[in-house]
Each structure stands twice: as structure tokens, then as C-alpha cells.
């Protein structure tokens, strides 16, 4: 079953878009709906619908894998559940912020967007989370600074704790050992973002919050070295406040690192992790293309924002 699952993932990988495909879409030589997987994409719909239809393709690919190998469904769902945590963050910002109509990812396994949008207070949100696998039985969190960023940081930690818990479960623990290092690196990339966003409060919060891995002071330097990104380049991007560029750079390096680390397991379960990463990056890339074209940005600007892994 595992081999069949991985073979299907390899099959799906051949359908992922390459640089030439993105260039053809951006230059208007080809429409997204001309690609088989995106046949349902409606060029006439509004931008939000377009963006969500791209994510629907990503979700359907992962769901397909989950359906062909139900034994591994928990693991595949856990990878998709990242979107659910993102939806929780969106609702949190909505509650704390100006309460406009929230725009959710079209995914909900334990927390459907319709249910989330009914949540009116933060307390209600934490209570709801306690009923989910992300924070089952947890205490209502108490925060140090009370900022939204702190709460989002907490949610990110919850997701990685949950993912680590799935990866460490008896059944997967043996098969997914190689993935642990990648997840840890991915978590550190995420932490790196929070380190910049939270500034001085970061270390304090890191000490207080439950976290999936221990993070030493040299962890970030080691992560940058491991991903083979020039530390001067990282410093420069931080100083110029080019966080998106930095995140793109680190994401690309992370994909390369994941490819390198999981190459020996190309017909084993860890490959699903890599495939998820690539499919997610495709959705992100297409989202950028859709927004970039809608906003009338230059082709070069759009293409330079994409992450190519092929």
C-alpha cells in the first residue's frame, strides 16, 4: 500500500507545473484552465474564488493520496491541517481586528470555515481549539504580551506539536524518522520569521510556550548553514526588511534540503512529505501569479516572486 501511495504521489508530481508553465501563464501564452488539474478554474470568477480554486486543487491532490491509502490518511491529513491552523489565525485576526468578512482557505477537517466564522470571541476560539487534536485538553492559554503575533506564534507551535505527535506515533515513528529532521528545519525557518516579527519578546515567548523541539541559541545559525544560505545574504535581507524575500529564499533552500535528505526514500512514505511541500509551493506560486496578473504587475516582478524547485 505504501509503495502504491508513493507511486501515485510520483504520478501527481509529474503534473506539477514547471518554470516554463508559469512563464507561459504569466506571459498570457497559456491559460491556467488549459492544464488538466486546473480544468475547473474559471478565468472569469473574482480573485478570491480564483485563489481558492487553486488551493482546492492542492487539497484534492492530497485528499486523493489520503483516499488511496487510508492507513496513511492521518499523516496526510496532518500535512493538510496546516491550512486549518492558518484559518484559525485568520479568524483570530478577524476577532481582534476590524471584523470584516474573513477569507478562509477552502479546507476544514475538524474546524470547518463555516464553524470558525461563527466564533465571536477569543475565549470561544480557545475553547473550540481544546476540542480539536491541535490542543486537545489544553489549558486556556495565558499570554505574555497579549499581541496577535504572540497568539499566532502560539498557534504555529501547536501545529508543529500536533504534527510531531503524528510523526512520532507508533505506526509512523519508524517510517518517518528521516522526516523529523526536515520538520525540525522547517519549524526553525518558521521560528526565524517569528524571531524577526516578535523582536525582543521572542526568546521570552519561546521559553514559555510549549514547543515541538528544543531550540538552542545557535539553532538558527546551524539552520542557515544547513540550508546552505549565505548568512550575509540573510543579514542583508533582514536589515532591508525584505522578509518575504528572505522567506522565499529559505523556503527554496528548505525544499532543496528536503529533496536531498529524502532522496534515498523516494519510494517510501517520507516522499509524501516532499510531495506535499511541492504541491503547496505550486498553490502558493499560482496564487502569486493570479494576484500579480490581477494587479497588473510586470511579468518579471511576478516571476521573480515564484519559488521554482524543478
Amino acid at each position: 500500500m505504501e509503495t502504491y501511495l508513493v507511486v501515485r504521489a510520483h504520478g501527481l508530481k509529474t503534473r506539477l507545473l514547471g518554470r516554463a508553465d508559469y512563464e507561459a501563464i504569466v506571459r498570457g501564452n497559456r491559460s491556467l484552465s488549459s492544464f488538466n488539474d486546473y480544468r475547473g478554474f474559471n478565468e472569469e470568477s473574482d480573485i478570491k474564488e480564483k485563489v481558492n480554486s487553486v488551493y482546492r486543487v492542492y487539497i484534492s491532490r492530497m485528499k486523493l493520496l489520503s483516499s488511496v491509502a487510508p492507513d496513511y490518511g492521518v499523516f496526510i491529513d496532518a500535512l493538510l491541517d496546516r491550512l486549518e491552523i492558518e484559518n484559525v489565525k485568520i479568524q483570530l485576526r478577524n476577532i481582534v481586528g476590524e471584523r470584516r468578512k474573513p477569507f478562509f482557505y477552502p479546507y476544514g477537517r475538524v474546524l470547518a470555515p463555516a464553524r470558525l466564522s461563527e466564533v465571536a470571541t477569543e475565549n470561544e476560539l480557545w475553547e473550540l481549539l481544546k476540542k480539536t487534536p491541535y490542543y486537545r485538553g489544553g489549558k486556556t492559554p495565558s499570554f505574555v504580551t497579549g499581541s496577535v503575533a504572540e497568539k499566532e506564534f502560539f498557534l504555529d507551535n501547536l501545529y508543529y506539536l500536533y504534527l510531531l505527535q503524528i510523526l512520532s506515533e507508533g505506526f509512523f515513528s519508524k517510517k518517518l524518522v528521516p522526516v523529523l529532521d526536515v520538520v525540525r528545519t522547517e519549524y526553525l525557518v518558521r521560528l526565524f520569521y517569528w524571531k524577526i516579527a516578535l523582536g525582543g519578546a521572542f526568546q521570552r515567548l519561546l521559553d514559555v510556550f510549549p514547543k515541538p523541539f528544543t531550540v538552542s541559541k545557535s539553532a538558527f545559525d546551524a539552520m542557515i548553514k544547513k540550508l546552505k544560505v549565505e548568512s550575509e545574504e540573510v543579514e542583508d535581507l533582514i536589515n532591508r526588511r525584505r522578509l518575504t524575500e528572505l522567506l522565499n529564499r529559505l523556503t527554496l533552500a528548505l525544499i532543496r534540503y528536503t529533496e536531498y535528505k529524502l532522496r534515498p526514500y523516494s519510494v517510501e512514505l517520507p516522499y509524501i512529505y516532499l510531495f506535499n511541500m511541492m504541491a503547496y509551493v505550486e498553490a502558493k506560486n499560482l496564487e502569486r501569479v493570479i494576484i500579480g496578473l490581477d494587479a497588473g504587475l510586470q511579468e518579471e516582478t511576478i516571476l521573480s516572486s515564484l519559488v521554482f524547485f524543478k
Binding site: I47, V51, I90, F103, A149, E287
Partner: protein, 199 residues
């Protein structure tokens, strides 16, 4: 000669009345011309400030492009929800007097609050956009001021032209006509008196 003036009785009293009226109209015209000069001076002064418009527009486009790029890079979901963390600014429109001309002016009641946005890139982009919008508001106020002052100038010009080309010549014509009539009547009276005395 205006229709009203045509029916005035030719008398010394009318003559005095018309002279006073002509004097008043001429003084009014001078006052309006002075006001016109003052408004022109004011418009020119504002026009100098409007030269900043190109720079303000450039800054606005740059800031808007930066925000669009950020929206593209971070994605619609992230951008939308982060944007909902920003308390939007409140801008009020009040009527102010500029050189005695009522001009609508946009005033910032309170600025946007991005304190809930932790991401430094978002904050920087939003701050720059707001700075650019603020400059655009100032420039738009100046543009509105120029527009309203120019409308007032047009009105004053119309009045001055009407006085200059219509009312004053018409008064002067009437005055001349009545002067002639009064003189004729005086001569007639003088001749009549002389004939009566000699007869």
C-alpha cells in the same frame, strides 16, 4: 440704456442720484478688481505648492506597488487578514474659509493604527502607503482650494465685466442724456423768462 433707466425723469435730482450711483458702481468695480488681484496672487501661491503633485503621485504609486507586491508574495488570505488588523483612518470633510471663499477640506480625524501588525515588512509598507496618502490628501485639498478660488475669480470677472461693459456705460449714457435734457430745459426756461420779461 437699460430699460429701468430709460423711464427716469430728467431732473436735477435724477442727475444727482445717477452721479452717486455711478460713483458707487465704479468704487464697487475697483473693490472687486482689488479682490480679483488678491485671489490671483493667492492662486499663484497655491500653484507653487501644487508642483509637489507629481512627486506625491510618484510616492503614492511606489508605495501602492510595494503593497501590491507584498499582497502577491504573501497571498490573498494572509494579506486580507493582516489588513483587517489595521484600524482604518477616519477622514472628515469640513468647510473652511480661504480668502472668504468656502472650500471643502479633507481632515484626518485619526490616523490608521497598525500597532496590531507585528510583521515589520507589512508595517513598513503600510506606513509608507499612509504617508503617501497623507501627502495626496494635502495636495487634493490644495487642488480643491484652487478650484474654488478660480470659481470665485470667474464670478468676480463676470461681475466686473458686466459693470465695465454694461452697467457703467449705460449709467454714463443715461447721465449724459439727462444732463443734455436738463441743460436744454434750463436754456428753454431762460429763453422763456427772457421773452416774458421783454414782452
Amino acid at each position: 440704456m437699460s430699460s429701468q433707466l430709460a423711464f427716469l425723469p430728467a431732473s436735477r435730482g435724477t442727475l444727482l442720484l445717477l452721479r452717486r450711483r455711478l460713483q458707487l458702481v465704479k468704487r464697487g468695480k475697483e473693490v472687486l478688481q482689488m479682490r480679483r488681484d488678491q485671489l490671483v496672487k493667492e492662486v499663484f501661491a497655491i500653484m507653487d505648492e501644487l508642483k509637489k503633485l507629481a512627486e506625491a503621485e510618484r510616492k503614492y504609486l511606489e508605495a501602492a506597488r510595494r503593497v501590491t507586491q507584498l499582497r502577491m508574495s504573501r497571498g490573498e488570505h494572509d494579506f486580507e487578514s493582516i489588513a483587517s488588523l489595521v484600524r482604518p483612518p477616519e477622514i472628515d470633510i469640513v468647510i473652511v474659509s480661504r480668502q472668504g471663499v468656502p472650500v471643502p477640506e479633507a481632515r484626518i480625524v485619526y490616523e490608521p493604527d497598525y500597532s496590531r501588525v507585528a510583521d515589520p515588512e507589512y508595517r513598513e509598507a503600510l506606513e509608507k502607503l499612509w504617508e503617501a496618502i497623507k501627502t495626496m490628501i494635502i495636495v487634493a485639498n490644495k487642488e480643491m482650494e484652487v478650484e474654488k478660488l478660480c470659481e470665485q475669480l470667474q464670478y468676480i470677472n463676470r461681475v466686473v465685466n458686466s459693470l465695465e461693459r454694461n452697467l457703467i456705460p449705460s449709467l454714463e449714457d443715461t447721465l449724459r442724456h439727462i444732463e443734455e435734457r436738463v441743460t436744454e430745459e434750463e436754456i428753454e426756461e431762460f429763453v422763456r423768462m427772457k421773452v416774458v420779461r421783454e414782452g
